[in-house]
C-alpha cells in the first residue's frame, strides 16, 4: 500500500474528487490540493479552531481529520458561506461589529457560529462562549465576536 488515494467528496455543494496521500490532513488537502485557502492553519494540533470546517453536519478541526477519511463526506468551508456575492448574515455581523482584526481566526469562527445557529437559533451569551471555546483569537478579545454572533442570531430570526 503506497501512493495516492482517490477520494470523492462534496465540497460546498459541488462534487469534488481529489488525490491525496493518507498522511495528508483534510486541512492540507483543502488548501494545497483543492485550492480552497480560506480555511486557515494555526496550531495544526486541534487547539485553535482556525481550520474549522463542517463535515457531515458537525464542525471539526480539519487538521485532525485525514483527507482519506473524507470519502463520501459533505464538507462546508468558508468559501461556501456567502451566496451569489451576498454575505451570510454572520459574515455581515462580523464586519459590522469589527469582530476581526488580522482575520486568521475568522473563517473558523464563522463556520463554528453557523453550526451553532443552525442547531440553536437563539443562543445565550454563555452558550455562545462555550460553543466557541475551541476557537482562539489573538486580536479581538472575543467580546466583539460574541456580540457579532448575538447580532447575527437576531438578524437571522427576523428574516
Amino acid at each position: 500500500m503506497s501512493g495516492k488515494t482517490h477520494v470523492q467528496t462534496t465540497i460546498n455543494g459541488e462534487h469534488t474528487d481529489f488525490l491525496c496521500e493518507p498522511r495528508q490532513s483534510l486541512l492540507e488537502v483543502l488548501r494545497d490540493v483543492v485550492g480552497l485557502t480560506g480555511t486557515k492553519e494555526g496550531c495544526n494540533d486541534g487547539n485553535c479552531g482556525a481550520c474549522t470546517v463542517i463535515l457531515d453536519g458537525r464542525i471539526v478541526t480539519a487538521c485532525l481529520v485525514l483527507g482519506v477519511e473524507a470519502e463520501g463526506a459533505e464538507i462546508t468551508t468558508i468559501e461556501g458561506i456567502a451566496s451569489g456575492g451576498i454575505l451570510h448574515p454572520i459574515q455581515q455581523a462580523f464586519l459590522e461589529n469589527a469582530a476581526l482584526q488580522c482575520g486568521v481566526c475568522t473563517p473558523g469562527f464563522i463556520l463554528a457560529s453557523k453550526a451553532l445557529l443552525d442547531e440553536n437559533p437563539n443562543p445565550t451569551e454563555h452558550e455562545i462562549r462555550f460553543w466557541l471555546a475551541n476557537n482562539l483569537c489573538r486580536c479581538t478579545g472575543y467580546d466583539k465576536i460574541v456580540r457579532a454572533v448575538l447580532d447575527a442570531a437576531a438578524t437571522m430570526q427576523e428574516v
Partner: protein
C-alpha cells in the same frame, strides 16, 4: 508526518487481521484527536498503518436497554453520546465527561474508546467509566475478552491490549434504581484544558442509606486510579456530608500525584479531597432524583 498507510476495514475480523499482521506498527484510528497529534509530533515514528475503526459497524453501535444496560461502540464520538436522549437520561455521569472533552470541534470526533485506549492518566472519561462499573470488550486474533475498565490502563499510554487486539465497545450495566454518578475536574479555565485532578464517582442509595459507591481519580497516578476503599467505606453509611468526608479523605490518601506545570503534588492532594467530596454530594443528589 512520516508516511502512513490507511485502511478502512468493514469488520472486526478484517481489522484485527490487519492489526495482527503489522503488530506494534499498526494503530486504530477513532476520532484521531490524540493519534494524529502524536503521529505529527513524531512520537510514533514506528507506526506505519492506521486502521479506521469508524468503518467497522460494531464500533459505531449505541444500544441502550433498561435491563441490559448500554453498549457504546469504541468509535462513537462524544456529540452522538450527549445528543442521545436515552443515554443522557440514564448516564448523566457519562455525559459530564463526554461534554467536557476538548471543545465543540473536538467533541465532533473524539470518542470515549479513544480516550480509554490513549491511556493518559488525565483521560477525563476514564474515572467515571470506572465508577459506572464499565467493561471494555476487546477482540483479537485469539478471540474476544472483556476487561473491567479499572484494569485496562497499565501505565501512561499502555493498556492490557496485546498486538493484534482492539477495543470493540464499552459496556455499562443498567443504572440501579436510586443511583447517581458525576464527573468533576479542576482546570484553571472554563474549557479546553487538561485536568489538574478529576474525580468520577457513583452511588446507589437505599432508604436514605448508601448501598454502594465507587470512586476513581484522574491525574493523580501513572494511570487513572480506582480507589476501591473509598467507595467501600460508604456502604451502609447515611447519605450525608459526614459520610462523604470519610470517603474523600480515603481518596486523598490513595493519590500519589506529581508536581508539574499544572500543579504541585500538595495542591493536587488537596484537590482530590475537594473534588471527590463535591462529586459524591452531586451524585447523591442525582440518585435522590433518579
Amino acid at each position: 508526518m512520516h508516511w502512513i498507510d490507511y485502511a478502512s476495514p468493514r469488520s472486526v475480523k478484517e481489522a484485527t487481521e490487519l492489526l495482527a499482521e503489522r503488530g506494534e506498527r499498526a494503530r486504530i484510528l477513532a476520532g484521531g484527536t490524540d493519534l494524529l497529534v502524536l503521529l505529527r509530533a513524531g512520537v510514533m515514528d514506528n507506526v506505519d498503518l492506521v486502521v479506521d475503526g469508524k468503518s467497522v459497524p460494531e464500533l459505531n453501535e449505541v444500544t441502550y436497554d433498561p435491563q441490559a444496560g448500554l453498549t457504546l461502540g469504541a468509535a462513537v464520538p462524544c456529540y452522538k453520546i450527549y445528543n442521545n436522549p436515552k443515554v443522557t437520561q440514564a448516564y448523566p455521569g457519562l455525559i459530564d465527561a463526554a461534554s467536557l472533552i476538548g471543545g465543540t470541534q473536538i467533541q465532533g470526533r473524539a470518542t470515549l474508546g479513544g480516550n480509554l485506549c490513549n491511556a493518559s492518566p488525565s483521560g477525563d472519561s476514564i474515572p467515571v467509566m470506572i465508577a459506572l462499573g464499565g467493561v471494555a470488550n476487546i477482540a483479537g486474533p485469539s478471540g474476544d475478552r472483556s476487561v473491567p475498565i479499572e484494569d485496562f490502563c497499565t501505565a501512561p499510554r499502555r493498556t492490557v491490549m496485546q498486538p493484534g487486539e482492539m477495543l470493540v465497545s464499552l459496556h455499562f450495566p443498567a443504572p440501579a434504581p436510586r443511583s447517581g454518578a458525576h464527573y468533576l475536574r479542576f482546570i484553571p479555565r472554563n474549557e479546553m484544558d487538561i485536568a489538574v485532578v478529576g474525580a468520577g464517582v457513583s452511588v446507589v442509595l437505599e432508604n436514605g442509606t448508601i448501598k454502594s459507591a465507587r470512586v476513581a481519580l484522574a491525574s493523580v497516578a501513572p494511570t487513572p486510579l480506582f480507589v476501591k476503599e473509598a467507595g467501600d467505606a460508604l456502604a451502609g453509611k447515611p447519605a450525608t456530608e459526614e459520610s462523604v468526608r470519610i470517603a474523600s479523605a480515603l481518596a486523598q490518601d490513595a493519590a500519589s500525584p506529581i508536581t508539574d506545570m499544572r500543579g504541585t503534588k500538595e495542591y493536587r492532594k488537596h484537590l482530590c479531597e475537594v473534588l471527590t467530596r463535591r462529586a459524591l454530594l452531586t451524585a447523591i443528589e442525582r440518585a435522590k432524583e433518579a
